[in-house]
Amino acid sequence: MLLWLLACAPAPDPEPTCSGDKTNVFVISQLSFSREVSDGVSAGFDLDGATTAAGDETGCGLADYTDPDGTAGIDNQFARVLPVLETTEAQALEPLIQAAVDDGSLLITLELGHVDADISASGSSGSGSSAGSSVGTSDTCVDFAMARATGTPSIGTDGRMEWYQTLAREPMSARSEAGQVALEDGRLQAQGLEVTIPVTILGHELLVTVLSGSLRFDVQPDGSVAGYLAGGLDQSQLLSIAETDNIDSEVTELVSSLLDYNVDLAPDDAGTCQQLSITLKFVAIPVFLYEG
């Protein structure tokens, strides 16, 4: 059984210089993998700055995807690995991730500081005439960070986390700061995020770090945000997971083989790639963080 949790690597706190006086917090309420939507097409990011075709010297010769919006060079090799993994005990991975979100063990917050105007515009707060979201609006300077929250989220009668609930900060988790970013036409993009995901496999807790993570989201008409988080998974870490005692040796061999043939990022001096690119798809809803 797999249970994904998330922690964020510590980073220095930059001095805020953005001028807005509002803070908006979102929590990821839906989390899944970005899959191949059609042959060669998958949403994600160009993480290595190169567009690689099969057999090229860059990207360890593994063909990149094209984003549904037409952007080339998308690094998301996990989308090729996932269908194979799902033939093993990892088949229930996505439901387990969502269950972890719903039960509060995987609460990832997106924190936007010094925002000029509320992004979700408190669509349900009764703030006078300001109802609605900030779809398409811009803010040239926003402090962006990811962190973890804790607590048992309140679930609505529709089975989803309730908007505007109040969560507590996870005291043992450091924030991952992306620094100052811009919100342009309702879209926010950030780079340099390092997200460590503890993976629990058959009772063994292991840390998987999404290295050099990139994130983007778009403000939705209802005031939520939806987007993608991507980065690289370290091959040696993944192997250590696969070599866990309780995992069937055939699965271990399969994972090892998959990694050997699919790592596509962070080549070493010899040109051998060390990381597997992965993209996660998310929806995040507005919440508050308890400041007491």
Binding site: G123, S127, G128, T166
Partner: protein
Amino acid sequence: MLRYVLQMLWLLACVTADPLPERGAAPEFEVVSPVLKRLTQTQYGNSLRDLLGSALVVPNDLEPDDASEGLLVLGGTVNSLSARGVEQYETAAFDVAAQVRADSDMRAALMPCAIDDAATDAAAEAENETCVSDTLEAFGHRAWRRPLEPAELLRLTTIASAARSTLGSWDDGVQYGVAAILQSPNFLYRIEVGEDDPDAAAGSSVQRRYTSVEMATRLSYFLWNSTPDAELLAAGESGELVTDAGIDAQVERMLADPRGRDGVRNFFDEMLTLYKLEDLSKDPTAYVHTSSTVGSSAREETLSLAEWLTFDEDGDYRDFFTTTTTFVDPKLATIYAVPAPSLDGFAQTELPADGGRRGFLGQVSFLALQAHPTSTSPTRRGKFIREVLFCTPLSPPPANVDTSIPEPSDSYPTMRARLEEHMSNPSCAGCHAMTDPIGLGFENFDGLGGWRATENGNTIDASGDLDGAPFNNAWGLAAAVHDNANLGPCFSRTLYQYATGHAASEGERDLINWHAEGFADNGYKVQWLLRDLVASPGFRRVGVVQ
């Protein structure tokens, strides 16, 4: 020099102070005849816990209370008890008596003496009889809120002796005696018939007053919603409670007691029918925030606000409708889209000053209760304001009129459009014109109390007019309610009825108006009105038994 400064300060005080208008004596009024008041379920439970301890599990399988004039305490004066209801009281009395017998602490508090069931000699048996008699006399005294007559005590000890003889122990006897006390009308009903007033002015139409002992009970159930404690009962039995000074002293003590807060909470609970929130049921497919506990949370929010405004702020009752202060738990904070001030319970918070939610009329308690399970109800919301807050009774719809409104459609996409269509029927328009223009002001709140800007894709128009005061939205409406001339007098009238335990008669109109004027002149402070009503001749005088 010092004298000069003091003089200047005195003059300054005289200049700047806003002197209250001279208040004349209470007007003549038509005194009412005494009525029997059956304890409400809440009073029954409070009384038992105050008599026997908080560990007592109060039986709740009792005949439900019915309201009269919107108040449960009045319902107990006009609604008779069914045969089944009598049986339920009997069962409950034996349940309580059994609990007392089984709980060492409750038993010790009840019986200050020891019983030796194994005693065989006459002297020891006499001591047992004395112990049982003393126990029943003391408990009966407190439960019946007056000393027992010798004949009454004899009946109780006879019951105890019979039970002991039949069942074998004096513990059985005490248990039956306690049960007899608790199913007696002397406990279940407040029997206040009054006495001739030796101080009544010659020629006055009011020649009778409640006795000092009866005043102890009246004060207690008004201010504490429970039975008198030993000190209040003693004050009553010493004759102090027919004097202004004696009453004042007890009222100050009672309002400072935590039970004073409970009493005010109960009044608001009854006036606003908040107890109905315990059974709140909403369509979960229509309202994702609904839950089995949201009704209880909403009730607590409103009661906490009433308690805070009355006691902590000693504030203006009208601010109950406009304040941005409230008390929320995490669930309500989620519905209101504000940060929860506490992660595990209720705490005080301030709603956004630029937000549209403020006061009682912006709370889930009002918005959800005065709505349908699947939709809002501007009619219910408006009717509540007219009837409960302004004391303006409305006629029920004629029996042969179709009260349904059109379903949402392209032609009638909003509740406003649907109601306007409904009001095109002249037989409906009369009453709906009194309610719907008010209730539509709350259309930015859905049937649970969550905020919404649109309805079926259409921007909500929450504008309207309240008795000549235009408003654009719910917070404008709240301000109009705050300023409405009927608000204060209606509150005075309702509290007067709650205090006296009877529906106000036409002959009491001038007296009630006199209290309302005093309430206004004294800043609409609820504590002031509580004290004023306790001193009222309407609270202290009584007519002859019919």
